[in-house]
């Protein structure tokens, strides 16, 4: 009787086909560059939201609405949104490449990651650009102070 243990990994042949753009290389560079930028953006975001002034107790609808009418914070948030979601999505993709063994599960997981990243980016971008800080009929104590002067 001879039994063979299945090989732990299948050394299938590497593709010799070369496409024009090396996405793995650019993906790797993107992770490094966006990582550095995100450190500044995220810690700046946390510092402003949680530590400056009244700190975390200042957070409410009016605070966020006030930030989202300021072009500086709109640009900050939009950059942070795109960089972080693509960074996270790409990281998840490499994890799937590492640990999903079958072609089908790999495909399903990657599509799921792509769909969630794209929909979150679209939603977030819509919010940043179409946000109404002073919804009609809202009580004055819940909205930003500048709404009353409109």
């Amino acid at each position: 009787m001879t039994s063979t243990i299945e090989a732990p990994r299948s050394p299938y042949s590497r593709s010799t086909k070369k496409s024009g753009v090396n996405w793995e290389k650019w993906g790797w560079i993107y992770m490094r560059v966006s990582g550095v930028v995100l450190v500044v953006l995220i810690f700046g975001h946390l510092f402003v939201n949680l530590m400056i002034g009244e700190g975390v107790s200042a957070l409410n609808f009016a605070f966020v609405a006030g930030k989202l009418t300021n072009p500086f914070w709109m640009v900050w948030d939009i950059i942070m949104l795109w960089l972080a979601l693509i960074h996270g999505g790409n990281g998840m993709r490499t994890l799937v490449n590492d640990y999903a063994t079958s072609r089908i599960s790999r495909g399903i997981l990657k599509v799921a990651i792509l769909v969630s990243v794209v929909s979150l980016i679209v939603l977030g971008t819509l919010v940043v650009f179409t946000f109404d800080p002073c919804p009609a009929g809202a009580p004055a104590n819940l909205v930003a102070s500048f709404c009353t002067s409109l």
Partner: protein, 253 residues
């Protein structure tokens, strides 16, 4: 003649105590077993003995069927890389005194390569990756008759670290990406590519950089430093991989 030496007692070397060590070895015999299983052995060892000595003692005195590779037994040939207490080590370089002998010592074959018998794995996939990076000097110019290819000390020092590789597969089989990805070149192949990419006498660095710029090339490295920790020659493997990444980004060595 002085009589002072007569009173002196002969110097008796302090007796070195031996102790019983339990080794738990992952056995697999393809002709009998369906699954690998763990088997324990007790051996009498000295602190200066190595794990390889324990394996020898077992094979020679207790169970001749224990199967493992070793050639030089002095850390040069790279035959006896194995997983000792969960870490990839050369059995011939791991001393008993450096292990916690109050607990059993677990010994198993390196991971990520097909298991053949006991501590022996099929090294062919590993050597295939090694071959794929073209690990040999390529130079179109023949030096003058009787002359050598001249290199400065600094040029030689540039790739000195990666010349130390003995192809034991301790690094590659400690890499989590290699465990799961059937195509990744693995640290050892990149180290050996590094050795020629940064050699001033070699002309084909661009070819090797192009090979490693593959989807399954250096970009799969997650810098977990498992390979650097595993290397019995102390090669800074992760740094070598990072240098190859840098060279690919700059487009030259």
């Amino acid at each position: 003649m002085s009589s002072a030496t007569i009173d002196q007692k002969p110097v008796v070397p302090e007796e070195i105590k031996s102790f019983t060590v339990t080794l738990i070895i992952r056995r697999f015999n393809p002709e009998v077993d369906d699954e690998p299983h763990w088997q324990d052995f007790d051996v009498q060892m000295y602190p200066t003995d190595r794990v390889l000595d324990a394996l020898h003692k077992i094979k020679w005195e207790q169970d001749g069927s224990l199967t493992f590779r070793r050639s030089c037994a002095h850390g040069v040939c790279g035959s006896d890389a194995m997983r000792i207490n969960g870490r990839n080590r050369l059995a011939c370089k791991t001393l008993m005194k450096d292990l916690d002998i109050t607990k059993p010592i677990y010994v198993e074959a390196i991971k990520g390569l097909p298991l053949e018998k006991d501590l022996i794995v099929d090294m062919e996939p590993f050597f295939d990756s090694f071959k794929a990076v073209q690990p040999f000097l390529m130079n179109s110019v023949t030096p003058e008759k009787g002359k050598e290819r001249i290199q400065t000390v600094a040029q030689r020092a540039r790739f000195d670290d990666t010349t130390k590789c003995i192809l034991c597969a301790a690094c590659t089989s400690s890499c989590p990406v290699f465990w799961t990805d059937g195509q990744y070149f693995g640290p050892a192949a990149i180290v050996n590519a590094h050795r020629f990419i940064f050699d001033s006498r070699d002309e084909n660095a661009a070819v090797r950089l192009d090979i490693l710029n593959d989807k399954e090339g250096v970009w799969r490295c997650r810098t977990t430093f498992n390979c650097t920790e595993a290397c019995p020659r102390g090669i800074q493997v992760t740094q070598a991989i990072a240098e190859v990444k840098q060279a690919i980004m700059r487009g030259k060595a």
